[in-house]
Symmetry: C2
Subunit: 334 residues, 2 copies
């Protein structure tokens, strides 16, 4: 039925070792034999069995990637960066959504490891002790991607979320805003939630403004929750003059809530956020936001992983990529 390396060997009149050599591009084969083998391969329609190869060589040329949600544009851009570089180094990726749920994350890490991936890219929510525990059972390298862990010194690549948020709020401050509302993510989320809130706080406190509870509300990162929270802010006796949203989607929701209330952005209210999702420049007014280099986060972490899998020594295994504030149309001087 299925044609194996042995069939090819017989057909070409050589040993299976020789076939293996030509298939693996081993130079120690006489050009003529190589030719014979290729012909036999062609004739038989031989296709190497990567599973058998993996068992024998202990390498699968596939890496696992656990991601929160591939249908979220932020993560899908990271994924594209990962896949492009993986492809370049002849790796394939097994993609698993884990929705930032701890149990699901732990489970997929284990199945990925069972599948003998050569390395693992982890993009998740909080890195708990259980995660660390699971990571420790791995004999292959793991790098955190868009996720940082304080408790463990693991290879990682991410931006500095605290500082990105700080920069965003500073821009508002420089534009004369004093009463700045924040649409935050959950504080349980270390990167997109907690760190961004901390950046907001630091920027305000630095200029002597105390963070006011009534000006910080938690959303769920999505458009609708941006709308909801904004309605709340609009109902305040003393409205904020500017809004800092933890994500672009919530910012866009906020903009629409503002517009629907009859006010204008940025003339009446300024809005800024962090992400630079694709749609940030596809809405009017175009969103002023702090750009996170999604594609690069994926690409760089995959590149780092290849080095690790290759046992190359890497100078810096915890890399922080730069962010950049993109001034577009949603922020104005007060």
């Amino acid at each position: 039925m299925t044609v194996t390396i042995y069939d090819v060997a017989r057909e070409a009149g050589v040993s299976m070792a020789t076939v293996s050599r030509v298939v693996n591009n081993n130079p120690n084969v006489k050009p003529q034999t190589r030719k014979k083998v290729f012909e036999a391969i062609e004739r038989l329609g031989y296709r190497p069995n990567a599973v058998a190869r993996g068992l024998a060589s202990k390498k699968t040329t596939t890496v696992g990637v656990v991601i929160p949600d591939i249908s979220n544009s932020i993560f899908s851009e990271v994924a594209r960066g990962i896949e492009d570089i993986a492809n370049m180094y002849h790796y394939n990726i097994i993609l698993c959504n884990a929705d930032k749920k701890k149990d699901k994350e732990i489970r997929v890490i284990n199945t990925l490891l069972e599948k003998q991936v050569d390395g693992l890219l982890f993009m998740g929510g909080t890195v708990t002790d259980e995660h660390i525990q699971a990571f420790k059972t791995s004999s292959v390298p793991i790098v955190l991607c868009g996720t940082t862990s304080d408790n463990a010194a693991m290879p990682s690549v991410d931006i500095d979320h605290e500082s990105a948020a700080y920069d965003a709020v500073q821009l508002l401050l420089r534009n004369g805003h004093r009463r700045i509302g924040m649409i935050s993510g959950t504080l349980q989320d270390p990167a997109n939630g907690y760190a961004r809130y901390q950046g907001y706080k630091r920027a305000l406190e630095e200029v002597g403004i105390a963070v006011s509870d009534e000006l910080v509300r938690i959303g769920n990162y999505r458009y609708e929750s941006g709308v909801e929270v904004m309605k709340y802010f609009l109902g305040l006796a003393e409205k904020p003059s500017a809004i800092f949203a933890a994500t672009d989607e919530m910012a866009i929701g906020a903009i629409h809530a503002i517009q629907d209330s009859g006010l204008r952005v940025p003339e009446d209210l300024s809005v800024i956020s962090v992400d630079n999702a694709r749609m940030a420049s596809m809405v009017r007014p175009q969103l002023t936001t702090v750009a996170q280099p999604m594609y690069d986060i994926g690409a760089v972490s995959m590149r780092l992983l290849t080095k690790l899998m290759n046992k190359e020594t890497v100078e810096m295994s915890q890399v922080t990529l730069p962010h950049e504030v993109l001034s577009r149309q949603s922020v104005a001087h007060v």
Copy 2:
């Protein structure tokens, strides 16, 4: 180093066959021995090697999916549908971007098949004879996902793109529009390009309007090209009163070009498209569009694949999912 089934057998004082049985949930094991084995597994930190298992059983519990571009929100939603169902049936997915490039598609199909996936989901551009050729070498089932092929009777799931486009243009017609411009995709693309153009054509011709060359322009599916093409339409001596765009992104680009020229949507010009991408409802005016059930396309095709892999007999292996016109705010009566 790595602990194998053999180590567990020794530790538990049983044979490796027994360990294999408990790991695979074979009921023919005395509860007591099962317990012993589990304890040994725990003690040793044994993790089954899926590669070895795959070689022995000829099943890998992973399916390959070739997709045009995971960073495109349309496809990433399909991917999520695929992964959710795959997960439900305990499959993992190897994800490969192929950008609708024939050569890349053929290449990844082959590497996926080498990796002994149990099945393949193909989402691509045109299905050429070369594709068919590659598919024929496969011993595992393949289903086309969001892609149809006329030449071959392969399992597939998709919407009827021609009819979706037809419905969109009909809505325009019913609103009194007679001069309708189309921002098309390339006619080489059977589904998003050619079929949608055909639907446009049929709707017009049905009411006795001849398709005019100056009213059909080719874009590349992206926002920017929607802007470009719209500028062209706006420069026409006799402007169209409505625009049908082959994708939401181009439609949104068109809307902004219209607005930038000082006109209003839908008061001065109506815009409709096909897709219902996430951002369609996140722009103002909200986009009227024909919804394609992306998630379901992925989910249904994966479900179909599981049946095929399971050698179940399936009644209909070529399924057409329904589309739905979503009347929002971008179309008005002329």
